[in-house]
């Protein structure tokens, strides 16, 4: 009898492990089926690698000016040509990717963090909800770029201030998403059951409501990442973003604007980079949402509300 019992137990755990690996296979299959998401993910990873290791590979300093080589077309020496100060465009774009991706990443992290805190607490405390949500309504009412410009004007141009300004702009969007999920989780019986067990509000909010909001938060964060990059480029293009002479894709475009008819490469290449980065992230985020949320069928996507650019 005893042996029989242990036998079935062994079988059970074996079945379980095969089931788990089966499930993993199904998941990989599901991911692989969404070709756009895979493509987006690969492009984005390549861009990240470029930002991390690219600066070690390029041979020119992005600030080094060779006035005699101004606006030379792409050639073997300068693969992507040079800009109006004779700086190598390739190394400027590679270093610029650090600025742009860095801003995008920091903004995504910071606004997720603050958005998470604001969203969770406003979902839990009703009075706080009214106050915080009216503030974020106010922030969301102003177009993102406009608000960012205003904040930059107040803070002064520097990369750090770009991050601060954009985090302020995007935090309400995260807060909204987190709050909406948290509001429905909070009414679940298991939250009441936790309360009946004597868990404190802090514990309930962070240990029991928060984990349930993470997957929509991550999806939203990928969109914020790409939005932040595009807004950073816009700010730099308008001259209130990453200050010269530090390169960012936006201010390379700004420099290129003046000489667009003489040196097409100065606008085309950074433009392509911005498109690649934003598109790859959006594809990835879209795929991620389809994967996480089974209600959204691929092919019949419900467009999430896009905020004003």
């Amino acid at each position: 009898m005893q042996t029989l019992k242990t036998d079935t137990n062994v079988d059970l755990s074996e079945i379980k492990s095969t089931l788990k690996s089966e499930q993993r296979k199904i998941l990989t299959k599901k991911i692989m089926k969404n070709k756009l998401m895979v493509a987006g993910g690969i492009i984005f990873i390549l861009l990240c690698l470029l930002a991390l290791f690219g600066p070690m590979l390029v041979k020119y300093d992005p600030h080094e000016m060779t006035v005699s080589d101004r606006l030379t077309a792409p050639s073997g020496d300068h693969l992507l040509g040079t800009d109006n100060f004779g700086r190598d465009l390739l190394s400027r774009i590679v270093y610029g990717s650090r600025a742009t991706l860095g801003v995008g990443f920091s903004v995504a992290i910071l606004s997720s963090l603050f958005g998470l805190i604001i969203g969770l607490y406003s979902s839990y405390y009703k009075t706080l909800d009214h106050i915080l949500m009216r503030i974020s309504d106010g922030l969301m009412a102003i177009p993102g770029v406009l608000l960012a410009i205003a904040l930059m004007a107040a803070l002064g141009p520097s990369t750090r201030n770009v991050i601060i300004a954009l985090s302020i702009v995007f935090t309400p969007y995260i807060a909204r998403v987190v709050r909406s999920v948290a509001l429905s989780v909070r009414e679940q019986t298991y939250i009441e059951a936790m309360r009946a067990q004597g868990a404190s509000s802090f514990r309930i909010i962070w240990l029991h409501i928060m984990p349930n909001t993470i997957s929509p938060l991550i999806v939203q964060a990928t969109f914020i990442f790409s939005d932040a990059m595009i807004t950073e480029a816009a700010l730099s293009f308008l001259g209130v973003g990453v200050p010269a002479p530090d390169p960012s894709w936006g201010n390379i475009l700004y420099d290129g604007k003046l000489v667009i008819f003489n040196a097409w490469w100065m606008t085309v290449f950074p433009g392509i980079m911005i498109i690649l980065a934003v598109m790859s992230l959006n594809l990835f985020g879209d795929g991620l949402r389809d994967l996480i949320d089974p209600r959204v069928k691929s092919g019949k996507k419900i467009k999430g509300d896009k905020h004003a650019k």
Binding site: T189, M194, R195, A196, Q197, A199
Partner: protein, 340 residues
């Protein structure tokens, strides 16, 4: 039996704020639970059973629109006057609660082991390892096979019956002196129901734990409860020992409920008795006896004045909220004699 009174609720009222003003969901309830006793609370849907249970633990505190009146004395302390931090110590540790729907009572993002150990760590000063071992013991106690394996599973990997057992394990984790079971078997099928009831009955005997058992299943009440309180529209209409209640229901509502249960040896050609009408909404409570609109014995007095919950003279420990309890009882006795 000389048991001490564990919980004494007197004249409890719970009001909820709504758009149209305050609604009184529980209106002046008094009852007590003794150590090691199982008190059944029965009644139709929406008559305030669950709200009573939740009021004992003050689970509506966070919603900011709830007002309590009266007294809930637990081991001599009035729970309604305690500060929240003290209340958190009592919840789960001294009084714990099992909810109606096991499927949604467990957090889907944690393993069941995590959730049981969390309940333990909240109130006891033990290491994670000890808590883990204790969780396995608890799972064994509630009859889950091979608990060391099950403990790493997520709620969705378990059946409803298993989940309810896990809930019971969590409820019992800190060995509370009082367990409130809010329709713990409603969502389960009959065989699982019987097992769960067995477990609860066993634990009640072994741990000498007081239980408030909320249900609308009179069969379950007959099986496990020592005493029963029948609720109607936020009030207790009858309270009696289980045997007395089933032998001799005093309130017309109780007898209505009892007559609506099919009997094994009943006459199959007859239709089952139904308590006519439905429970009135809480914001249109009639003046007078709340059951009057559905009561076959109601007269003018019933419509005008609300009867008090009064001790019934013939039966020890029985209380009834009806003007005509004696008359109805006598009539029924006569009927019995004539049919015999």
């Amino acid at each position: 039996m000389q048991n001490e009174t564990l919980l004494e609720v007197s004249n409890l009222k719970t009001h909820f704020g709504s758009d149209t003003g305050f609604v009184t969901a529980v209106d002046g309830i008094s009852f007590h639970v003794e150590e090691g006793e199982i008190l059944g609370v029965v009644g139709e849907s929406g008559c305030g059973k669950s709200v009573t249970a939740e009021s004992i633990l003050r689970l509506h505190d966070e919603k900011f629109n709830t007002m309590y009146e009266g007294e809930i004395k637990y081991k001599g302390e009035n729970l309604l006057k305690l500060p929240l931090s003290k209340m958190e110590n009592i919840r789960g540790n001294e009084i714990s609660m099992i909810f109606q729907d096991p499927m949604s009572s467990l957090n889907p993002v944690y393993t069941i082991g995590n959730q049981i150990t969390e309940a333990l760590l909240l109130h006891q000063d033990i290491s994670k390892k000890e808590a883990h071992n204790k969780a396995i013991e608890l799972l064994e106690l509630v009859g889950i096979p091979s608990p060391e394996k099950r403990i790493t599973e997520y709620p969705h990997e378990l059946s409803g019956g298993m989940q309810q057992r896990v809930m019971i394990a969590i409820g019992l984790a800190c060995q509370p002196s009082l367990l409130i079971a809010d329709e713990p078997t409603t969502a389960l099928d009959v065989t699982i129901q019987a097992q769960i009831l067995d477990i609860m009955l066993r634990l009640n005997k072994e741990l000498k734990m007081g239980v408030i058992f909320i249900t609308h299943d009179l069969g379950v009440v007959a099986e496990i409860c020592d005493r029963v309180a029948v609720m109607y529209l936020g009030q207790i209409v009858e309270e009696a020992r289980t045997i007395d209640l089933f032998e001799q229901p005093l309130h017309p509502y109780t007898s209505g409920l009892l007559e609506s249960i099919p009997k094994m040896d009943g006459d199959r050609s007859k239709k089952l008795n139904v308590v006519k009408g439905s429970v009135p909404s809480l914001d249109s409570i009639p003046q007078g006896c709340r059951f009057a609109s559905r009561c076959p014995f109601a007269d003018e007095l019933c419509l005008k004045e609300m009867p008090e919950l009064r001790p019934f003279k013939d039966e020890e420990g029985s209380k009834v909220r009806c003007w005509h309890a004696e008359k109805i009882l006598n009539e029924r006795k006569k009927e019995h004699v004539s049919t015999d």
